[in-house]
């Protein structure tokens, strides 16, 4: 077992939209350098959990410890600045801005020098985005837009990258490219919380997995334990 200290530790978290409660008693942790898969059927509350982690929703109970500090209720901008960065569901790139402006906004909280250095590094990783730097982001293909969304998040210098259904709407070939990228980021030491419908491919990369059902944690353990449980496999994973 990897005994690295936890980056993120969530305990007894409850959250929702105003008076509507969605999540109950959520416990989850991510350690430095690991990939954790967060699974669950549509509407289980995965995106709600991510929105709460990132400060877009205020939890009604529980704690979110990030690097040993409770960030429950902190602003989304201070959470991003602290290195907890998400690639939101549906990408949410800025279609009216150029590819380069999209990337620069990822480093909005950093100084000019850091921004230029991040830009150079990201373009080296995604040469395609460099070629299209001056093009409006809305003119990119679906796969390129997803790469841009991830690249924009990398510009924010994350210590934990949260990916919310990044393969949604991508061609099978692009999905392979995406998982290759995720595994490459992992090898370079980045911790990743991965929400995915491609369960088998996600579990192949993850060191641990959680299954969310109707706003509560139905399982947490290793991918092997998850795959060994027939009931869980059939009910939540469809594999």
């Amino acid at each position: 077992m990897n005994r690295a200290e936890p980056l993120l530790e969530i305990n007894g978290l409850a959250s929702g939209y105003g008076p509507i409660g969605i999540l109950r008693a959520i416990t989850l942790s991510v350690r430095a350098g690991e990939i954790v898969a967060l699974l669950g059927s549509n509407g289980a509350g995965k995106s709600t959990l991510i929105r709460t982690l990132c400060g877009l929703l205020t939890p009604s109970a529980g704690s979110i410890c990030w690097l040993g500090r409770d960030i429950a209720g902190a602003s989304s901008q201070s959470i991003v600045a602290a290195g907890l960065v998400q690639v939101p569901e549906g990408r949410r790139i800025f279609p009216n801005l150029s590819v380069q402006d999209n990337l620069l906004l990822g480093s909005y909280r950093r100084g000019r020098a850091a921004r230029q250095a991040n830009l150079a590094a990201v373009i080296e990783r995604f040469p395609r985005l460099g070629e299209r730097a001056r093009q409006a982001a809305g003119t990119l293909s679906g796969g390129e837009q997803q790469m841009l969304a991830i690249a924009r998040a990398l510009m924010a210098e994350p210590r934990l990258l949260i990916l919310d259904e990044p393969s949604l709407g991508l061609s099978p070939k692009m999905v392979d490219t995406l998982f290759e990228l995720i595994s490459q980021l992992h090898r370079q030491g980045l911790a990743i919380l991965l929400v995915e419908q491609h369960v088998a491919q996600s579990l192949a990369l993850a060191s641990r997995a959680y299954v969310l059902e109707n706003g509560a944690m139905a399982f947490s353990g290793t991918p092997a334990q998850l795959l060994a449980s027939d009931q869980l496999r059939r009910a939540y994973l469809g594999v």
Binding site: S75, I79, P95, L104, L105, Y108, R152
Partner: protein, 288 residues
């Protein structure tokens, strides 16, 4: 007739540039916050009284007052959005309409009470100076208003296109969720946008005062036309506001020349209705 054409055109351009500047503020607020600022007219009136008071109490020249009024209106706008209009929204557009209407009612009543319904004008040394521009005589303050409004519009366009803040404003306007995801403080950007919208009014007030009267009702005539400009140019479109403003100014002035002063605005509404019939999204608007 043709001898009167060039002066009328010049006059129309002057008014048009002012309309464009006022409309730019409206369209920026609409484009970013997706709200219509119904207090725009009263806030213009407030800014004009600000320039008037600075002149009467401290002798500050209206053009020098730019360095006070533009930041002051920005701060006022920032505060109004951050502490009143934004918090009052509670996720419902009706609340914003009520909040901006409420603000305008408060300002207008305070102005009517403090300034009575008198009209004021300031007398400057250069107020009556006429300039000969290729055969047309134009009052110097009007020429300065034309130049000042055009320069303000250009500076604002450059700022929005090339500064970090401008980039964040454009991002928030289109994709606030994505902006939050990268750590942009969206509430702050909203307030900055509202502040810039009012700063346009501060600048417009400084350019207007040497040539125009102030009264508690003065905002209405300008803002009615500015609303027309925003819709004509396309809601939220910068280019639309600029072109629409100049177009409306010229049509109004030429309409006045051809139909008589009191009917000048009929031309404006004919053009307005015509454009909306054939281009419902306005001249430069995008489809919804």
């Amino acid at each position: 007739m043709s001898a009167a054409l060039w002066p009328a055109l010049l006059n129309g351009l002057t008014m048009g540039a002012i309309y464009a500047l006022i409309a730019l503020g409206l369209t920026l607020i609409y484009g970013v916050l997706h709200i219509i600022n119904f207090a725009h007219g009263s806030l213009l009136m407030l800014a004009m009284y600000g320039v008037l008071l600075l002149f009467e109490r401290t002798g500050t020249d209206p053009y020098l007052a730019l360095i006070v009024m533009v930041p002051a209106m920005f701060v006022l706008g920032y505060g109004l959005q951050r502490f009143i209009i934004g918090p009052a929204r509670h996720g419902r557009d009706e609340n914003t309409i009520l909040a901006t209407l409420g603000i305008s009612i408060v300002i207008e009543n305070l102005a009517a009470w403090y300034f009575k319904s008198d009209t004021h004008q300031i007398a400057t040394a250069y107020g009556d100076t006429m300039v000969d521009l290729a055969g047309a005589l134009i009052a110097l303050p009007r020429l300065l208003a034309l130049a000042g409004a055009m320069v303000s519009c250009a500076l604002l366009a450059l700022f929005i296109r090339h500064s970090d803040t401008g980039r964040a404003i454009r991002a928030v306007a289109r994709e606030p969720e994505g902006a939050r995801a990268v750590g942009i403080d969206v509430a702050h950007v909203f307030a900055v946008s509202f502040g810039i919208g009012l700063a346009c009014l501060g600048a417009a007030a400084c350019f207007l005062l040497p040539a125009f009267y102030v009264s508690p009702m003065v905002g209405h005539s300008f803002v009615l036309l500015a609303f027309t400009v925003v819709v004509l140019g396309g809601m939220g479109s910068f280019t639309g506001s600029l072109v629409g403003g100049l177009l409306i100014g010229i049509v109004e002035s030429l309409g006045g020349l051809l139909l008589g002063e009191s009917l000048g605005q009929i031309g404006v509404f004919i053009v307005f209705v015509g454009v909306l019939l054939f281009r419902p999204t306005g001249l430069f608007g995008h489809h919804a």
